[in-house]
Structure formats: C-alpha cells, structure tokens
Amino acid sequence: MSLRLAGVSYRYAGSPNVVLSEVDLVVEQGEVVGIVGPNEAGKSTLCLVAAGLAPGTIAGRLEGTVTIDDLTTSTARPYELAQRCGSLFQNPGTQLSGTTLSVWEEIAFGPRNLGLALDEVVARVNAVVSTLEIGELVERAPARLSGGQAQLVALAGVLALQPAYLVLDEPTSQLDPQGTNLVGDALAGLAARSNVGILVVEHKTDLLAGIASRVAVLDAGRIVAIDASADILADERLPGWGVDQPSSVRLARAAALRGVSVG
C-alpha cells in the first residue's frame, strides 16, 4: 500500500512541452519524502499528478501510471482520490472554498462533503484546530485572514479529510518561522503516529532536514537524484540545481573552506 508513480511523463493540454519525464517515485505509508529543485522544474506538476488532479481535473496527457493504494488516478473518480490523498497548493487564496463565513466552517467543508455524521465532522474539526493551534482563528471570516493564516487554515481543511497520503506544494511558503515549525511538527506527527505517507515540495531545506526520510531532486521534469535526506541535503551539487542547502550544511562547508569548524 503506497503512493506510486511509475514511468510518469506529463504534458498539459494544448502544450507541446513535456513537463515531467519518466518519473519513478514511491511514497510509503508513514514516510515523508521531500522534493526540491529550481522553480519551473515541474514540482507543482508532480504534486498535481501524484494526487491524481492531473489529468483528472487539470487536462493533460499522462504516460505511465500513478496509483494511490489500490486506486489508479487515471480511472478513479476525483472524490475517491481526494479521500485517499489530500493535496494542498501554493496559493492559499484559491485553496479556500470562498463560501464559508468562519474558519471553523471552512475546515468542516471537506468532512461535510463526505456526508459524515455530524459528531464525526465536529470531532475532526476540533482535532485539527488543536493540532495546528489555530483555536484563536476559528471564528474569523476566511476572507479576512492574512496569507500565512490562510495557508494554515487551508492545510487544516485538507487534514480534516484524514487522508492516507498527503501531497503538499510548499505548505509553509507564507509562514513565519514559528508557523513553519508548527507545520513541520504536525507533518512529522502524522507520519509517525497516523502512518500518513507525505510528499512535500519545499524550498526550506532546513525543514526537510528535520522531517523527511528521503529527498528527491527534480530538475527540468526529471528526478536527477533521490536518496536518504541527509545524503541529498549534503550533496555538493544542490546549489547548482538552484537549491539552498540547509544552514547547518552551508555553514559547515563555508567554515571547512576556511579551515575552521563551527560547532
């Protein structure tokens, strides 16, 4: 049981450019896999394809297969995929439904869509609010949230679906360091305790160093390196791929060049 991309290539409808080329990637349950790479490498497309939103909702041509447990994304219904694999994208403004009057109701949007019993909906919303520590936001109107708050609420909305897998495209881009740590802890907790398989695209390699077991580098639509996170994040080729190494690695390297060591 895993999220599996096998020999995946992808082209958007109406475009001759191949955005992903022969991608092979597996995310096991309980594992956090990080994706790094320069902008326009296809990381967002990778997320769309992994979650089954492409070619399902976003038109395009998929070669190879993407399976989420026993579902094949090219044949399953979007709502079946959504229950199995939660996804979150970059612009928090468009991730929110735009029809709810309070953050609480916004988080309840997903579970409500599933037709769950009211008890269950309430329990799930309260659990997520507690995990992400957004209790003070529950009464706020979603339209009045700052970018960072909206991003946390959007993540909460996805977590409330309690999917077996998560595909996240830069979930902390708008968050300050405290928010980033909170999300990092929440994701690590989900993987460890709830056995959720997580695929996360991030620029913040410091974050990935803390929570990812493996990291893959995506460049020009191809996975050019994939290994244990400690190995990848220390790889000298990362800056060449447009990726900032974690601060600890950077400082250690700069220090080593000067013949000193930084504790």
């Binding site: 320069p38 902008n39 700052s146 300050d176 400082l251 220090a255």
Partner: protein
C-alpha cells in the same frame, strides 16, 4: 567593492538617488485602523535599507506614502528635500518606483516588451530611449531576449523579476521592493541581490520590505524594524540582530538569522551573516 557607475542607455545610467524621509508620520485608514503611529525615518540618497517586522506593523503602509498612494493623516513625508504635499501619484512615480509583491496584480500586456514599456511610457519616454531602457531592464533581471514572450508563459518567479524590470525601466532615483524574494528559488534570490547591487552602484536609493532575514542580513547595510506602526530599531544588521535586541525583535515576530544565533551561542558577538560568523571563528583561532 562596487565598480564605477555605468553610463549610457542603461536604465541604471543616471547616478542619482533621492533622500526620502518621514517626520512624525501618522496614518489611519478610513475604517479607523491606525496603521502608523508616528514614524520618524530618514533615508539618505543612495542608501540601501531593509524594513522588517510582522504583518500589520506598518511596513507596506509606510512605503506607500513615499509615492503618494497614501496621504499622511498627520506629519510630513519628504521626497528629495520637498514635502510630498498634493503631488499626484503619477508625478511622484518619476521619483519613487514601487515593485509590489504580487506580479499578477499588475500584468496586463500580451508580451513582455509592452509590459515593461508601460511605466516609462507613462513618464513620457519614447523612441530609442524607450527601447534602450526596455532592453537594459530585461538584461538586469535575466529576461534578455524574452520581449515577445507572453508574461503568463513565464513561471511565477520570473514574473516577479519581470515586475522588477518594469520599475527599473522607469529609472526612478528611489526603488522600493515589497517582498522581492518570496516565491523565488536560490537563483532568483541571487538575481535580486545582484539587482540591488547594481542599483546601489548607480547611486539609487533602495528600500526593501522582507521577511527573509538571511537575505536582509546579507544584502542590506541598514535595517529598520517596525512594530505596531512605529520604528523600534534602526541600525546595521550587526546592531539590529545583536542578542540584546532579540526580545524586541520577537515582539514583532522577527527571528534573527541563524548565523546570529550560532554566533551568540559560541560567544562570538553579533554575527548576522554566514561570512561574519566564519570571520569571527577564524579570528578567534578556529
């Protein structure tokens, strides 16, 4: 050390900057929100300043006074040495250019050239001068040769750079950048740093709002910290990010750069950048 100023058709040709200042500046939004509670700030011509602080501390509100988008409720704003007064925004745009955070809130043209031409055209630039400015601006942001490309065919980070090009082409003595590195990968951030260097070399005044502390510490010689509509700290990165100020910074949700924290932990004083930290370690003898 920056090289000599460049001359010619480059948009960065005129080595002139302008002083901008706020004197007891207060501003309240029509709905009653008090956004600025008395800001005193002087930025000399050619200075490179970063403004940091939490969302809502007044950073964006403050810079919008420099080009007239917002008018002081009380106090004064000066551009050059003259008060802003009633000068139209279109007029102040000759002196102060602002690059906003979201490029998609301004792109309207079907090709990059027309988009970059918009600003200078509004200022009355035309003909070969205009073409020269467009070319140089695109070169400066790494979009040379993309004149015919549709802006929406560029990825988000390159659209942000396009937004910078649009203001560079206006050759304003003061350039303000609102969160220039959000959404940029490492190459994009390096590009923005290069642009800031070029502008300073040309003597322009550069002001940036950012929440990327590493970018701030590495790129700016002066850091202004805002909290609840006031300036709470103002100095070099080493001064502002020194351990003594961490509590003040925390109040406005600013975390000092990692290099500062390591330097403090190792007892090396205030080391806001990787380079400063390494220097301090070397100086101590490794």
């Amino acid at each position: 050390m920056p090289g000599p100023p460049r001359f010619g058709a480059s948009p960065l040709a005129d080595p002139r900057g302008l002083r901008v200042a706020a004197e007891a500046l207060a501003f309240t939004y029509p709905d009653g929100t008090a956004a600025l509670a008395g800001v005193d700030l002087e930025i000399e011509a050619g200075e490179r300043v970063a403004i940091i602080g939490q969302n809502g501390s007044g950073k964006s509100t403050l810079v919008r006074h420099f080009n007239g988008l917002l008018r002081a409720s009380s106090g004064r704003v000066l551009v050059g040495d003259a008060p802003v007064g009633d000068r139209h925004v279109a007029d102040l745009a000759r002196a102060v250019g602002i690059v906003f955070q979201n490029p998609d809130r301004q792109i309207f043209a079907g090709n990059v050239r027309a988009e970059v031409a918009f600003g200078p055209r509004n200022l009355g630039v035309s003909g070969s001068e205009l073409q020269g400015r467009i070319t140089s601006a695109l070169e400066a942001v790494g979009l040379a040769g993309q004149e015919a490309t549709n802006p929406y065919d560029l990825g988000y980070s390159r659209r942000k750079l396009l937004g910078i090009a649009c203001v560079l082409a206006m050759s304003t003595p003061v350039v303000i950048l609102d969160e220039p590195t959000t959404g940029q990968d490492a190459r994009g951030v390096a590009r923005v740093q290069g642009i800031a260097d070029d502008l300073t070399t040309a003597g322009r005044t550069v002001i940036a709002i950012s929440h990327d502390m590493r970018f701030v510490a590495e790129t700016f010689a002066r850091v202004v910290v805002m909290e609840a509509g006031r300036v709470t700290l103002d100095g070099t990165p080493a001064e502002v990010f020194a351990a003594a100020n961490w509590e003040t910074l925390a109040r406005t949700y600013v975390d000092p750069p990692l290099a500062s924290r390591i330097g403090d932990r190792l007892g090396l004083g205030s080391t806001p950048t990787d380079a400063a930290l390494i220097e301090a370690v070397v100086a101590r003898g490794g």
